[in-house]
């Protein structure tokens, strides 16, 4: 902190946020790990030892090899292979792609939907507010896993359906968060001024009200990405999530489940570690962001 104070740059809210965020080594570690994971996921087709979907390169003779053994094709399988002879390291890299896309994508869409409805509820008030908030209450009174289960039981498997289910179970968190802060901001003078200028409602909502409700939204959004990834993995593990042709981490773990009892731990263990590291990294960032962005904790 003293270093930044010695050479005072122009203090913008963003810079202040960055310097306070960096005060926690754990959070910075989380960020670094998350960036690495994201890079691995994005670059998987170029850096993975094997394309796990290309049936031509899979050899069933390489099935269930132990970590570190060399397969028939000359590749060293550092994390072993699954029952199809698929290199686990490559499988995890590709699985991360799907897990991250589903997690981040659904959190983003849920945020759009939830934040819009929350803003609308706070701004319009009255009946609109109570209808939206009743829906939020209803949604939150049911555990997410159950609601997601219900939706997927109707819609069936598929990446797109999982995203829909995750959006439906998650929008309420965003709506409640945004409404809470928007209710406070709404009474501020700048909103009154904007209303006196007879600006269009949409502009007041998204240009004036929303930016001031962002901090808690960012915190909830970060945590919800972790939750979405965990929930997707859970649903896929139960066989309700992504289809077998596009295995996410959860499905990889499920594939190894039956071999676990015979001591072939690596098929489930390593995808689980990848999942775990991803979730913990996001949560560490989110924890610090909550502390930094919470006005009540400001000294």
């Amino acid at each position: 902190m003293s270093a930044t104070a010695a050479v005072p740059p122009v203090e913008t809210p963003f810079r202040r946020f960055v310097s306070e965020f960096c005060a926690s080594p754990l959070a910075v570690g989380g960020l670094v790990v998350f960036v690495i994971i994201a890079l691995v996921a994005i670059l998987a087709p170029w850096i993975a030892p094997q394309n796990p979907y290309d049936l031509a390169v899979l050899d069933i003779m390489d099935g269930r090899l132990e970590p570190g053994s060399v397969g028939g094709s000359g590749i060293t399988h550092w994390l072993g292979t699954d029952d199809q002879g698929r290199d686990m390291l490559s499988g995890i890299m590709y699985g991360l792609r799907i897990s991250l896309v589903v997690g981040v994508g659904s959190a983003f869409i849920a945020c759009l939907v939830g934040a819009s409805l929350g803003l609308l509820a706070a701004y319009a008030g009255g009946r609109t507010d109570s209808v939206i908030m009743r829906l939020v209450d209803l949604q939150l009174s049911f555990p997410t896993i159950l609601a997601a289960l219900m939706i997927l039981a109707f819609l069936g498997k598929g990446i797109f359906n999982v995203v829909i289910a995750l959006v439906i179970v998650e929008w309420a968190y965003y709506a409640r968060t945004v409404r809470g802060s928007a209710l406070v901001e709404r009474r501020r003078e700048y909103i009154e001024a904007a209303m006196c200028l007879a600006l269009p409602t949409r502009r007041i909502l998204f240009n004036h009200l929303l930016p001031n409700c962002l901090p808690p939204l960012i915190v909830v959004g970060t945590m919800q990405i972790a939750r979405a990834i965990a929930l997707e993995a859970t649903l896929s593990f139960l066989g309700l999530g992504v289809p077998i042709t596009e295995p996410s981490l959860g499905l990889l773990i499920a594939n190894g489940y039956e071999y676990m009892l015979s001591g072939k731990y690596w098929i489930s263990f390593y995808p689980g570690i990848a999942l775990l590291v991803t979730i913990v990294a996001i949560n560490l960032m989110g924890d610090q962001m909550r502390d930094v962005l919470n006005p009540r904790l400001k000294k």
């Binding site: 289960l149 039981a153 859970t234 139960l238 731990y265 689980g272 979730i279």
Partner: protein, 324 residues
């Protein structure tokens, strides 16, 4: 109080109607009801007879009324797989789920309270920091993966505990329970720990926050000034006051625990409602799916109602608000 109760009951009624409509629409309107309710092996004539018998040629709103009417009589269709009434299948498996849920709640209190108390009394100790870090892990670890790891360590590597099934059961009130036998207890231990991890973390955090808050209260200071032993201050003055929020929150979690047992039951092959629904979804045994969803919705509405009423009984402030 009577007015509040009435209002709350009406609300619950509305939610129940709304949810039944959702389930109905989900199964009857989004999916193809013929495919859902009639066995796929049926031929054309059987199909037509079944369509008429099930009233699928009626307009949608009439179908809904028929569905509700039958549901009220406890008839939610027959399972394709077991060829038994769906509701009966679910009721048979309910004790296993409840047993698991209550077992895990008990564990969460037994483990979470002492750890939280310690972390609250010595907030800066190394052990306390370890406990708190552990509770973060408890929140972020996916339940199913922890379950797999428990199986790997305690069932496969160490061979201490069995990993699947309920084990021996003993009858109580005509219902088989696992916790009454030694073998059953050893079977329930791993799944119960798995299911309780999240709640242990929750109880640790609540207890710690409660202890730290209560320690600063005037009555605690007064008790200490009076020269009472630290033991008495902790366990009589502090403990009593933190118990109220902890017990309420753990009680509130009952519904979530039952819901999450879906995951634990699948991992440990525990023959409860949760495993039944997953199996049913995987083989498209839709009458069971509908029945499970309706049962769980009803259960949730009852739990929420009970918690709200208990709240008003326990906490006079809520009662006053409701009157105002």
């Amino acid at each position: 109080m009577a007015l509040y109760l009435l209002r709350r009951l009406t609300q619950s009624g509305f939610v129940l109607v709304a949810m039944s409509l959702l389930v109905f629409l989900g199964v009857y309107a989004i999916g193809d009801p013929i495919e859902i309710l009639i066995s796929p092996d049926a031929d054309q004539i059987e199909k037509e007879r079944a369509i008429r018998a099930l009233g699928l040629d009626l307009p949608l709103w009439q179908q809904y009324l028929v569905f509700v009417g039958k549901a009220l009589q406890g008839d939610l269709g027959r399972s394709f797989v077991f060829n038994e009434p769906a509701i009966q299948l679910i009721l048979q498996r309910m004790p296993a789920t409840l047993e698991l849920a209550f077992g895990s709640m008990l564990l969460s209190i037994l483990i979470g309270l002492p750890l939280g108390l310690y972390a609250g009394l010595r907030p800066n100790g190394a052990l306390s920091k370890g406990i708190m870090a552990g509770s973060i892990l408890g929140f972020s670890l996916p339940t199913f993966w922890v379950g797999l790891m428990l199986i790997m360590v305690f069932a496969v590597q160490l061979g201490w505990l069995p990993s699947t099934g309920r084990g021996d059961t003993a009858l109580l009130f005509g219902i088989p329970w696992s916790f009454l036998t030694r073998d059953g207890l050893s079977h329930i231990l791993l799944p119960a720990i798995n299911l309780s991890l999240f709640k242990i973390s929750l109880v640790i955090r609540l207890t710690r926050a409660g202890v730290r808050e209560t320690m600063l209260m005037d009555y605690v200071k007064f008790a200490r000034a009076k020269g009472l032993s630290p033991f008495r201050v902790t366990f009589v003055h502090v403990f009593k006051n933190i118990m109220i929020p902890v017990v309420t929150v753990v009680g509130l979690e009952l519904g979530g625990t039952i819901a999450f047992s879906v995951v634990t039951e699948s991992v440990f092959a525990w023959p409860g409602m949760g495993k039944l629904i997953i199996d049913s979804i995987n083989v498209l045994d839709r009458p069971v799916i509908v029945a499970y969803l309706m049962m769980i919705v009803l259960m949730f509405i009852i739990i929420n109602l009970a918690v709200d009423i208990l709240y008003t009984v326990l906490d006079p402030r809520v009662r006053l608000e409701a009157k105002a």
